[in-house]
Subunit: 333 residues, 2 copies
């Protein structure tokens, strides 16, 4: 377990040159069909056929964002890719490429980093075929850190912003609600040792007992293709559900100058977790009334005149979501 | 000194919400003239007028890449911007935008991060007017880490790669050689305490005694405009001098399948430091013989049939440059 890999005699970053490490990692990374100039120069050159490109960046830091006791290298590469791809999709764009910067402790093995590369490849192949890694950076750090920047192609469409929802619109979600938060709750309650620290020994049993929710937490599968489909169907507003449906729906309400009224009966058996659980990485979108909802979208409420978030017509002020500054406990594991 | 800022009673990241911190930081960041959709949505949308864009990414990690005893927040923002802008320029492109991810310890003050934002703004205004920050991410981490991704516009030109140098070309550099390494040498020799740890008290005297070299190390001023000028002048190969002239010239030789022969008399009074010192962030380029060298470029040698690097016609095999995996000593400060 951990960054030393399965073969403790394996070559570490502290021993390998950056060039040697990259030589082993790059062949495992997915290729981008937008590449005009790939890795090996000071910068890559990518195609932006309609004269614009979408860009988003996100960091994952050991401690607040993941624990090595629970996430293997393939999980981490997968999740770092998936969460960024989801932000691109939420603009209505098709993901085209990623650049990946990784800072890792010197004792990290190159074999472990190959697993991370495999995670990026599997996530791109599964979630966004044609999207690949076109560049990166490898550094040494006391704290394992991933910084991913993702690009997308709007294919001539207008980007779908948070600010376009109008009274009368239907609001809809694509992707599971609350599963990732439920998985995290299982991990923090059951996959820890007597002192509350993440425990790799107990992890296996918890993952086997709750495969769906723990899987949603460790290897999210955002409905990437539904982003462009929503744009084509005329979505008036859209965002990635990263901080919980309540907080994210409130963001759309605020940016659009409207109220969003959610129907709790559409939120599944555990509406509270669906509302307040973070890291779903599904899509939340508003569509003109009467729109035939595309892909995996299902209606969960309506847009009204007013402000803020309502649930079943009643103001809902619980915060929900995840703010690492307020909630990180500084723990290790 | 340090991430607690000048006002130790100031609001820290551990106390502020991410939203509150971003609200204070964003107004200080430079705006990009390529912005179509700026911060506030899941992703930004940027113009790519010729249907392509250049992209590069680079991390700066406390310890191997900088010391808080020597670098203030404005220095760090400046250097994180400058080093990425230089990679864009080395393709022959005009920098258009940056996205910036920062992970910082919870005790970091928002005031200190405002200084980082000021550094990004000053660097962009000075080195690449029109280039700005279009998005970012703010995380908490035990290790202060900057991850910057930079974009550029080729304005219809072909990118200048490392692989195009041909026998008979002149090789030239723009920007100072060896200054940044000389500054780092002064810092590690003189701005440390009795145990060899970086010492903010001694730093001021060292910076005053060696302003040019310490300045080149802490706030590099790469000749960004010379990148596009080199492309317009017909440069056959180009790269950013990040790892020392010897190592970087060897990279061009290898990628181009030629030998590069440098003239030591063109390398200034300390040719050895010019050859082996890293972090110059000048430009190294090859031009067809007889080219009128543009901007700040000056000839330093020629391209020949053969392989590898020669100095005054003699093979030069010293490694030079900086590989954080091999050379980081794990020190703090």
């Amino acid at each position: 377990m951990g960054i030393s890999g399965s073969d403790p005699s394996g070559l570490t970053l502290g021993e390998a040159s950056e060039r040697e490490a990259l030589r082993r990692i790059f062949p495992r990374l997915p290729e981008s069909s937008a590449t005009l100039v790939g890795p090996g120069d000071d910068a890559a050159v990518l195609a932006a056929p309609d004269g614009r490109f979408v860009v988003t960046t996100d960091m994952m830091v050991h401690g607040p964002d993941f624990r090595l006791a629970w996430s293997g290298p393939v999980d981490l590469g997968w999740k770092a890719a998936a969460t960024n791809l989801s932000d691109v999709a939420a603009m209505g764009a098709v993901p085209t490429a990623l650049v990946v910067a990784i800072a890792a402790p010197p004792e990290t093995t190159v074999e472990w980093l190959e697993g991370v590369a495999d995670g990026f490849r599997l996530a791109c192949e599964t979630l966004a075929p044609g999207c690949g890694v076109v560049g990166g950076d490898l550094s040494v750090s006391a704290t394992l850190t991933f910084a991913v920047t993702a690009f997308g192609d709007l294919e001539g469409r207008a980007p779908v912003l948070r600010s376009g929802a109008r009274p009368g619109d239907v609001v809809a979600v694509s992707g599971a609600l609350g599963q990732a938060a439920s998985g995290l709750r299982h991990l923090f309650a059951e996959a820890v040792d007597a002192t509350g620290e993440p425990d790799p020994e107990r992890f296996a049993g918890v993952a086997a007992a709750h495969p769906e929710s723990v899987g949603a937490q460790l290897r999210p599968t955002p409905p990437i293709a539904d982003g462009p489909l929503a744009a084509l169907a005329g979505a008036t507003a859209m965002l990635d559900l990263s901080d919980g449906l309540a907080l994210d729906a409130r963001r759309v309400a605020e940016a659009s100058g409207v109220a969003v009224d959610l129907d709790s009966s559409a939120l599944g058996p555990d509406a509270r977790t669906a509302l307040t659980g973070g890291e779903d990485h599904g899509l939340f979108a508003a569509f003109p009334a009467g729109t035939s909802l595309p892909g995996g979208f299902r209606a969960v409420g309506t847009v009204r005149e007013g402000t803020g978030l309502l649930v079943d017509g009643v103001p809902f002020d619980e915060r929900g979501g995840w703010d690492p500054y307020l909630e990180w406990d500084g723990g290790s594991g």
